[in-house]
């Protein structure tokens, strides 16, 4: 089984007529995702790659029964798009858009939460449940079904690790990018909780990076509330303090958010942290075998 998405996921694409929204709609359809509707205000009544387009989310939901949404709209309109989806009763919203102002997210996160919806992102690659459903921009050709859950703040670094897993013959239940911004809707601990409860997931890979304290929170959660083995990788050991490393959230502020603190917190919680991306698979094998998993 997968987490957050399944074969009943009916996806709405907000910003479907844009360059990125259009391209990735095709990719998601090709992967087998049920893309049932698109929204672009002013383009209602048209179709895009065979998908009906609506002017607003509420009409799209009413007409198609969409229950998840992915947002590809420009940064200054993204928070509004997320709130529109939540207001229309969409339960799972994935925001791919990079560059959303932080104060927009300060107001959006409680709004989404109050309506009982879950937001993944912003500034994330989305998620993929191999062979089941893909939402976002993760390439479908590097994943394969299997028993490993993967959660990451990054995009291409995730692809790197997933590719090595797949090459090693180890498949995944769900691969999830939670996003590189300082404020995001779904944190490591939220995903870890879901993987812990998911019967098909036997072990979890957590890929973190400098900035904030979500990895430390995750370490606490693993120590107190998880039985499944977790292995980690942390990017940014060589990042200079005070500089933003591409991702808006990847910054060491003062003494807080360093890679060494995060590695130490995870290792204290019994999570082996690989020194290199290629070391992740090896560490996964050993903890997974020790837990009685089906490691090859």
């Amino acid at each position: 089984m997968s987490i957050l998405v399944d074969r009943d996921t009916r996806l709405l694409v907000q910003g479907i007529t844009g360059r990125d929204g259009g391209f990735h709609t095709q990719q998601m359809l090709a992967y087998g995702t049920a893309v049932v509707a698109g929204v672009t205000p002013g383009k209602g009544g048209t179709t895009q790659h065979g998908v009906p387009v609506f002017d607003d989310v509420e009409s799209a939901v009413r007409a198609t029964g969409a229950n998840a949404s992915v947002v590809y709209v420009p940064p200054l309109a993204a928070a509004d798009a997320v709130c529109e989806a939540a207001a229309a009763g969409i339960g799972f919203i994935v925001c791919i858009t990079e560059g959303v102002p932080v104060q927009d997210m300060v107001r959006t996160l409680p709004y989404v939460q109050q309506r009982g919806a879950r937001l993944l992102g912003p500034n994330c690659p989305g998620l993929i449940a191999p062979g089941v459903c893909k939402i976002g921009i993760l390439p479908g050709n590097i994943v394969t079904p299997g028993p490993i859950g993967l959660v990451s703040r990054s995009g291409t670094l995730t692809y790197e690790v997933v590719y090595q897993l797949t090459t090693a013959g180890i498949g995944q239940t769900t691969c999830i990018g939670i996003g590189g911004d300082p404020l995001i809707g779904t944190k490591f601990i939220d995903v870890l909780r879901l993987f812990e409860a998911d019967a098909a997931t036997e072990a979890v890979i957590l890929i973190g990076e400098i900035g904030g304290s979500d990895e430390e929170e995750a370490a606490d959660f693993v120590r107190t509330s998880m039985r499944k083995p977790v292995v980690g990788f942390i990017a940014g050991r060589t990042a200079p303090p005070g500089r933003r490393m591409g991702h808006a959230g990847a910054i060491v502020s003062g003494n807080a958010g360093t890679a060494s603190d995060k590695v130490a917190a995870l290792e204290r919680a019994g999570v082996p942290v690989a020194p290199t991306p290629s070391g992740v698979v090896e560490r996964l094998r050993s903890v997974w075998q020790a837990s009685g998993g089906s490691a090859r």
Partner: protein, 379 residues
């Protein structure tokens, strides 16, 4: 984006915060004239994007215009944390009875901005937080309403029991400025109580959210292009994310996480990374050209490695970019390339027969890059 102190002072003064007048001077003479105008003791402060200006000798008092001229000449000759001082701020000196810290910033873990208030003003707040955390109050703002007036009063009376309302008013205006500017940080340190009982903001700091600059063109225009590293500026203007480091192995990567991991791997194998460089998700060949130009302008670089994981980015597009760039101006440095993922076979075909080195894995490309920088291998 960081603002200079003089810019932050102007912005906060315009919003009704108690910030004294100042003059920006670029020569000792201009500093002397400013001191004359203020007719009394002045403070002369270096305007650079660096903390610890005082310790570096970048902040001095002057009793007379002549003295202002002298200290200005000295400060204008300084380089603070690698940044040459080009501008000074001259303002009337303020007598200090007590000093506070007040600032608004994002609390990432709580998902909200917070007011930080401390009676230990004039010190590095992170140092205070470490040494005596009990001296710091942290009050979360409401996501929609901002700083609640009762929270502002709690902070105000905690800092200055005799006149808490005055401090509360400053906090309230500071919170309004934080929201209005889409700031990541607004800070007054120190907020001074003078012997005659006035509150005066003696220093001001504003950091803006880069992501929000598009809706604040007036604030975006305040960017000091001279204060930016020229290579980092070119990169920003061309849509790349580049940060210079001091090593000799340069890397060109797609995606911020993979770019950091590549730097880390260079160090893991005993090399020294020369930069962070994320060419982003697009495969625009022009970005590769710009990336190579920027990297080769760094005299410390001795070898260049490409680590591209094609997902949305197509490897053949990146390969074409590399070919285009190297044909236009043959690289003076050895290059090793690893392209994997979408259309990687086509990319390998395109690069076959060139002098560029190739690698299959991330470990291999990094090890080859280090060997090239050391001169123990040829591409």
């Amino acid at each position: 984006m960081n603002l200079h102190e003089y810019q932050a002072r102007d912005l906060l003064r315009a919003r009704g915060l108690p910030v004294p007048e100042h003059v920006v001077a670029e020569t000792p003479e201009a500093a002397a004239r400013a001191a004359e105008r203020f007719a009394g003791r002045v403070v002369v402060k270096a305007q650079v994007h660096a903390g610890g200006r005082g310790k570096a000798g970048g902040v001095k008092l002057a009793a007379t215009p002549q003295e202002a001229r002298e200290v200005a000449a000295r400060i204008l000759g300084l380089t603070i944390k690698g940044l040459p001082v080009r501008r000074l701020l001259v303002a009337p000196a303020v007598d200090i009875e007590r000093e506070f810290y007040v600032g608004i910033t994002l609390d990432r873990a709580a998902g909200r901005p917070i007011l930080i208030a401390s009676a230990a003003g004039g010190m590095d707040i992170e140092e205070v937080a470490k040494v005596s955390p009990e001296k710091i109050r942290r009050l979360p703002l409401h996501p929609d309403r901002g700083l609640e007036p009762f929270d502002a009063r709690r902070a105000g009376f905690a800092l200055w029991p005799e006149a808490g309302n005055k401090v509360a008013a400053v906090c309230q205006k500071l919170a309004a400025a934080y929201a209005a500017f889409d700031a990541s940080l607004v800070e007054i340190n120190p907020l001074v109580v003078t012997p005659d009982g006035r509150l005066v903001a003696v220093d001001a700091k504003i950091v803006l959210d880069d992501n929000a600059l598009d809706r604040h063109p007036d604030l975006a225009a305040l960017r000091d292009l001279d204060a930016e590293d020229p290579r980092e500026r070119t990169a920003r203007e061309r849509g790349l994310s580049y940060i210079q480091l001091d090593g000799d192995v340069a890397c060109v990567v797609n995606g911020a996480g993979l770019a950091m991991a590549t730097m880390d791997l260079i160090q893991h194998y005993g090399g020294r990374p020369a930069n962070f460089l994320d060419i982003g998700g697009s495969s625009n060949p022009e970005k590769v050209t710009v990336a190579l130009e920027i990297i080769q302008a760094d005299p410390n670089v001795r070898a260049i490695l490409f680590n591209i994981f094609g997902g949305i980015t197509r490897c053949d597009d990146v390969a074409r970019g590399i070919l285009l760039a190297t044909e236009k101006s043959p690289p003076r440095l050895p290059i090793v390339v690893r392209l994997i993922g979408t259309n990687d076979a086509e990319a390998r075909r395109l690069l076959a027969g060139t002098t560029l080195g190739t690698a299959v894995s991330m470990d291999e490309v990094v090890q080859k890059g280090i060997a090239l920088a050391r001169g123990t291998a040829v591409a």
